[in-house]
Every structure is written in structure tokens, then in C-alpha cells.
Symmetry: C2
Subunit: 220 residues, 2 copies
DNA sequence: CCTACCGATCGGTAGG
DNA sequence: CCTACCGATCGGTAGG
């Protein structure tokens, strides 16, 4: 999409605000003040709050594609690409590409029980992401990397762990959440990996000392 | 907590609204209009928006305890109780106890990157829930129901699947999401179940016939 | 892009 | 519990 530099600057800031506070709090007055321009000047780029929200979702998709999808496309098809998608997602969260973590987790939770164009656009973006996961899983099975399995079930489980990693990472401000997500996905994929297929980088759980395990038991 | 009937009615409505639209949209004017009272009359019960939010979180915890924790306490300790917690959670979502699904998923996502007393109260409630999951997992291992495992890791994975089930159920308006969550948890627990321990009700995937199911259990 | 507005709604208060 | 109000902020508009 062709877009002026000013409009792009507005939308990138809007996406950053939405990732922490939600699309509802992306108000025209707040954006204008943050960016040092007038409300009416900013408003003129969009014509309605809903258009601003829809264009914010669109730029969120663009940033997600650049930081998660595109890097993983470099990996070989099948299991390596599936694992690359997972590690790229976790890296995107850890790097703070959006200050509130995964943009789509925040806005999807905000709009999951609402109706209208903004809900539909968010749901469509997530459906496309899930179809991509499922497609890469199908490839991995057809290439003999993984034992036969239900792609929708496996994609659901992987997405659940990724999203939970993002969520707990921010709620508890604890980077170990991303490690829990990585370990859960690695274990699930390891169980499905066929004998001839090599394991991948960062696959195994880092060694945990006996003391740390005992503490984990005590903490309950 | 002692509480007048009027205040309880306000808070139960506030929790219902928060589960769909978030705590931010639980405004004093909206509650007053919904309940047919004046803003000032409603406001007087709380004294500040933050107090209203904190008391809404408290009543959300009470309702969660009644619908998820208490029923599962009836099940025997160990694996049966762990499975009862999971099925009680999914039933609580499916039953629409809150119109927006799990109250805590909505508000935790809303507040995960904020600071202050409301964030802290939500984070504390979720920590207590996670500690409960971990404690029941430790019991299941000590009772010999499950092979030894990292309780924090398993609790994280179970919670991830439960929350994803709730989330996708509402985002796509598709009840199969809860079945994906149930199946994912069941498979994970089945892999950890020790030979002498019986499987539990609703354990297997429905698509599989009873015969295939029985064979599958024998094979292990 | 701007200044200057509009009616509606926000959290909160005064006074009863 | 109520009416009546406050200043701030919301999305949006008029006019340039």
C-alpha cells in the first residue's frame, strides 16, 4: 500500500499503543498529542475512528509478517520451517517489536466477543496465521519429518503455547515464560519427529539443577 | 465478605460487563443506566473507579472459585482432581457463566502491561490458580498417577490450552475450540499416566471409536 | 495540515 | 439513595 511518511508514522505509533493498551485507547487526541500535531490534522488521514483502527490492524499485520513470517521463510520447508516460525515468534516477543508484546494477542482478546469490521479483520488475520501453521505442519508430515497427525490440533496447541508465553512474559514480567513455551513446543514436536529426521537448534530443554527443581516443587 | 444485596448486584453486573468489554469499559454511568440507578448512588458504594475495579476482580474470583475450584475439590486427589479442574474450567466457559468467557482471560490481557493495584490483584489471582494446578500435579506424581515431571512446566502447558480454548471459542464462535483444548490436555496427561492408573471420563478423542480407544489404551 | 468549536460521556463532587 | 453540577476528554465537524 502506498502511504505517506506522516500517515505511516501515525499508524506505527498507533500499533505500539494498541499492543499495550488496546485499540480502544488509541484515541485521536492521544495520538495527536504524542506526535505533536492537531487532532483534526491527524483525523483527516482517516475520516473515522473505525478506519484508524482498521488501518492500525493492517500495519500490525505488516510488522508481524516482517518479523515472524519472513524470517521463517528462509528455513527449509517442513519441520525446520515450523520450528523457525515458533522461534521467530518468541524472538519477536522478546525483542519488544511491540512494547506490549504480540500486537494480535492484545487486540484479539479485546475484540473476541465484539462484532463488526474490526473484529472481523482481526479474526481474519489470525485465521491466516493459523492456516499457515497448519500448512507448514502438513508439509512436515508429507516430507516425512513428522508422524501423521491432525494439523488443526497441532497448530492449536503450538499457538496456545506461543500466546501463553507472550502473555505470562508480560503479566509476570518474567522471561522464563518464553522458555516454558519453547520447551512445551519442542517436547510436542520431539514426540512426533520421525527417526530419520534430525533435531533442530535450541530443541532440548536446558539442564535444570536439582536445587532449582526442588525449589519449583516447594513454591506451590 | 459481608455485602448488601444492591452492591452485590452491581458487582455481578460489573463482572459480566468486564468479561466481554474489559474493566476499562465498566464505567459508572453505564452500570447506573443498566441497573436503573443514578451515577452518584452507584458511585457511593465504592468511592473511586479503582475500588470498583478491585471489588469487581474480587467477585470474579468468587465466581471462578464456585464454578471451577469447588466442583473439582469433590474429585479424589491427584490425577482425577487435575482432570476435574480442566473439565470444570471448560464447562464454566461453555456454560457462559460470564458472557465473555473466562473473566480472568479478558482482564489479564487488558492489564498485563500496566502497573498498579488492579494489575497486581489480577496477577495474584492467576498466580494462586497456577499454584493450585501445580500442587495438584505434585500430588498426582506423589500418588504415582503421573510419571515425574516439572510441575511448573506442565501447569503452564495445561493453562495455555485452557485459555486458548476459551479464546478461540469466542473469537471464532466455534465450540470445537473447547474440544481441541480438552484433547490436547488429555494427550499430554495420557503420555504421563503411569501403567497402573486408570484413564478418566471423557479422556479420549470423540472421533475415535470405542474399540479403537480400548485398543489404544491396551497398547501402552 | 491548522484553530475553534459541537454534543456526549468520563470520573468525581456538593448538597441534601 | 437522589439532582445538579464540575473540568477533562471523547469522536467528529466547520471553515480555512
Amino acid at each position: 500500500m502506498t502511504m505517506g511518511a506522516s500517515k505511516r508514522r501515525i499508524l506505527e505509533h498507533a500499533a505500539a499503543v494498541a499492543s499495550t493498551d488496546g485499540l480502544e485507547r488509541v484515541t485521536i487526541g492521544r495520538l495527536a498529542e504524542d506526535l505533536g500535531m492537531s487532532k483534526a490534522g491527524l483525523y483527516g488521514h482517516f475520516g473515522s475512528k473505525e478506519r484508524l483502527q482498521l488501518e492500525t490492524v493492517a500495519i500490525g499485520r505488516e510488522i508481524f509478517r516482517r518479523h515472524v513470517i519472513a524470517p521463517a521463510e528462509q528455513a527449509p520447508a517442513g519441520l525446520p520451517r515450523l520450528w523457525a516460525l515458533c522461534t521467530a515468534y518468541l524472538a519477536y516477543v522478546a525483542a519488544g517489536v511491540f512494547p506490549g508484546g504480540d500486537f494480535f494477542v492484545t487486540v484479539a482478546n479485546e475484540y473476541d466477543t465484539r462484532t463488526g469490521p474490526v473484529h472481523d479483520e482481526i479474526a481474519a488475520a489470525i485465521t491466516i496465521w493459523m492456516r499457515r501453521l497448519e500448512g507448514v505442519i502438513v508439509d512436515a508430515v508429507e516430507l516425512g519429518h513428522l508422524s501423521p497427525c491432525d494439523p488443526a490440533q497441532l497448530a492449536f496447541e503450538i499457538e496456545a503455547l506461543l500466546v501463553a508465553g507472550n502473555h505470562v512474559y508480560h503479566l509476570d514480567n518474567d522471561p522464563r515464560a518464553l522458555e516454558l513455551a519453547r520447551a512445551g513446543i519442542a517436547r510436542r514436536l520431539e514426540d512426533l519427529r520421525t527417526p530419520g529426521t534430525p533435531a533442530l537448534a535450541g530443541w532440548s530443554t536446558p539442564e535444570r539443577g536439582r536445587q532449582e527443581q526442588a525449589e519449583s516443587l516447594e513454591r506451590r
